[in-house]
């Protein structure tokens, strides 16, 4: 009875994946049906391209920075949200908006907030006399600020997701354990680091692993916010694969670039399996 599902998934995930590998070793282009084996030629040329190196570096940097910020913030936020209070449902809805609304639409909201002329952030900075009118930086127009903006939007989107996962983990800690610790004289920090965090490690890792996949393989945020610019400074592997493979018609090179996502995906899948296995045993 699971044959149809397995077949569907095999045809639409397995076959394209094999095609991606084949393309990466070929000269496939949009518009031509020719298909020649060219060996490692695509890999050689992309490894020499400065855009690719920037994209690889950015994918790693964006993922690491975003995850670090997300873990800290969502931990703090989940502590604040843990106990019931009046209006908690509504506050939770507002906090979750970035995650539950379509990411492409939320990102446009940020594009308006970070607009080169009408940015509200610029207005506030000018109103506080930190910048003179018309001299504030262009948030998406300067390489480092654009990179920071992409990381900011990733954090904005992932904090809610990570927070709910941590809330689920927190609610699973038996109440007696922190209570016993409190009686024994453990303070807030001690309880946090020696009880809550160790007990939440499995679920914390799930949140981090999903977060890594969502940031590392994301193209939507970069494509809408900066389209990889200025000067490729925010290009990531997926956005470069799109720019090369679809917009630039070079399917082969695009496929080769996107294959660089695979090692990270395999590592994450392996770690997920280990977590699933461990919780199964205990």
């Amino acid at each position: 009875m699971f044959a149809p599902s397995v077949l569907y998934i095999a045809l639409l995930i397995g076959v394209p994946f094999i095609l991606a590998v084949l393309y990466a070793f070929s000269d496939a282009r949009i518009g031509s049906t020719g298909f020649h084996y060219v060996g490692l030629e695509n890999f050689r040329s992309i490894l020499h391209s400065p855009s690719f190196r920037k994209a690889l570096r950015n994918s790693i940097v964006f993922t690491l920075c975003a995850q670090a910020i997300v873990i800290v913030c969502s931990n703090i936020l989940s502590i604040a949200l843990e106990k019931p209070f009046r209006g908690r449902g509504f506050i939770r809805f507002l906090i979750l908006l970035p995650w539950v609304a379509p990411v492409s639409l939320g990102t446009i909201g940020w594009k308006w907030i970070l607009d080169s002329i009408y940015s509200v952030i610029t207005w506030v900075l000018v109103a506080l006399h930190l910048y003179k009118p018309y001299s504030a930086p262009m948030w998406l127009g300067e390489p480092h600020l654009a990179m920071a903006s992409v990381i900011l939007v990733h954090c904005w989107r992932l904090i809610p997701f990570s927070t709910v996962i941590m809330l689920a983990g927190r609610s699973a800690i038996p109440r007696e354990i922190p209570e016993a610790a409190a009686i024994d004289g453990a303070g807030f920090w001690r309880t946090l680091f020696q009880i809550n965090i160790p007990m939440m490690t499995p679920i914390l890792s799930v949140a981090v692993l999903f977060g890594i996949i969502f940031t590392f393989t994301d193209m939507t945020v970069v494509y809408i916010l900066t389209a990889g610019g200025p000067f490729d400074s925010t290009q990531t592997l997926p956005s470069l694969a799109f720019a090369t493979g679809i917009a630039g018609s070079d399917l082969a090179a695009g496929a080769a670039i996107s294959l660089f996502l695979v090692p990270v995906l395999v590592a994450v899948a392996y770690l997920m399996l280990r977590i699933a296995h461990r919780t199964e045993v205990t």
Binding site: S5, I13, A20, A101, A172, I246, A269, I275
Partner: protein
């Protein structure tokens, strides 16, 4: 005395500050969409105006423009149609698969279940290049049926995973009793198991539907004509009109499209999270 009072209320005040900060930061882009939706153009585009205030009376012009002068409604219709078809395909394939896997005892059932869950981690950005070729060969390019075909490959794995959990909690004796009474295994499944699992099925329906509304990469790659767009791609790509000031209607579109999806997703979020956490919370 004062210090004691501070020690008592200190954490509470801190908690309120944390919640206030994150709520404002996370919900702000949507608040900002709301403001832009109702602002007159002259007000939006005067740098000196306080952007937090309505310096001129609010207007419905942007909403009127959005619903009468753009393809916005058409995109919503496309998205709804694709959503319904994808939900149907997902249920048709995932229900029997999940049921079979739930009843498949021993390690193999578990392993196959986890393998299917892991395919959910494969991102569109890995497969969109070969799939664009597949879609072209099938003659589905530029048609909404391209995404109707591909999206179930993203919804089926997670749906099987969620439904498996539901079916496992239903005692096997229930079906056995029904089969003793003369029903076939399929009949027992339809008459006994499905009615009890309504809430699980509903969870899958909402999951598949919201995923359709949130996906960006495949829709962007496969469909180019303006009138065949899905809402998540149509808004960022086609509502930007050259140099003309368009932010009012763009923000209105984001808000109108996001909120219903956000509310829907939010209602079922806890169930999705239970699925995401791979049983690392018991």
């Amino acid at each position: 005395m004062e210090r004691a009072a501070l020690r008592k209320s200190g954490p509470k005040i801190l908690k309120i500050l944390v919640l206030a900060f994150f709520t404002v930061a996370l919900a702000f882009p949507f608040f900002w969409m709301l403001i832009a939706t109702f602002k007159q153009n002259i007000d939006l585009y005067t740098v000196e105006n306080n952007p937090f205030l309505f310096n001129l009376p609010p207007t419905l012009d942007h909403l009127r423009f959005l619903f009468t002068q753009t393809r916005f409604l058409r995109w919503l219709g496309n998205t709804a149609l694709v959503g319904v078809l994808v939900v149907a395909i997902t249920l048709l394939l995932a229900l029997p698969a999940a049921y079979a896997l739930a009843r498949l005892t021993g390690r193999w059932g578990e392993r196959l279940g986890i393998a299917i869950f892991l395919t959910y981690l494969i991102p569109p950005t890995l497969l969109f290049i070969p799939l664009s070729r597949v879609v072209a060969i099938l003659g589905l390019q530029d048609s909404i049926f391209s995404v109707v075909l591909v999206y179930p490959s993203m919804t089926i794995p997670f749906s099987i995973w969620l439904l498996m959990g539901f079916f496992k909690s239903i005692p096997k004796e229930l079906e056995d009793a029904a089969m003793v009474d003369g029903l076939s295994r399929f009949g027992a499944f339809i008459k006994m198991v499905v009615p009890i699992s309504v809430s699980g099925i509903l969870t899958v329906v909402i999951f598949a539907f919201t995923l359709v509304t949130q996906e960006f990469v495949y829709a962007l790659t496969f469909i180019s004509p303006e009138s065949n767009q899905m809402v998540g791609v149509g808004i960022p790509i086609f509502l930007v009109r050259g140099d003309v000031y368009y932010w009012g209607s763009l923000m209105a579109a984001c808000l109108v499209a996001s909120l219903p999806i956000a509310v829907l997703y939010n209602l079922f979020l806890d169930r999705f999270i239970a699925g995401f956490t791979v049983g690392s919370v018991k």
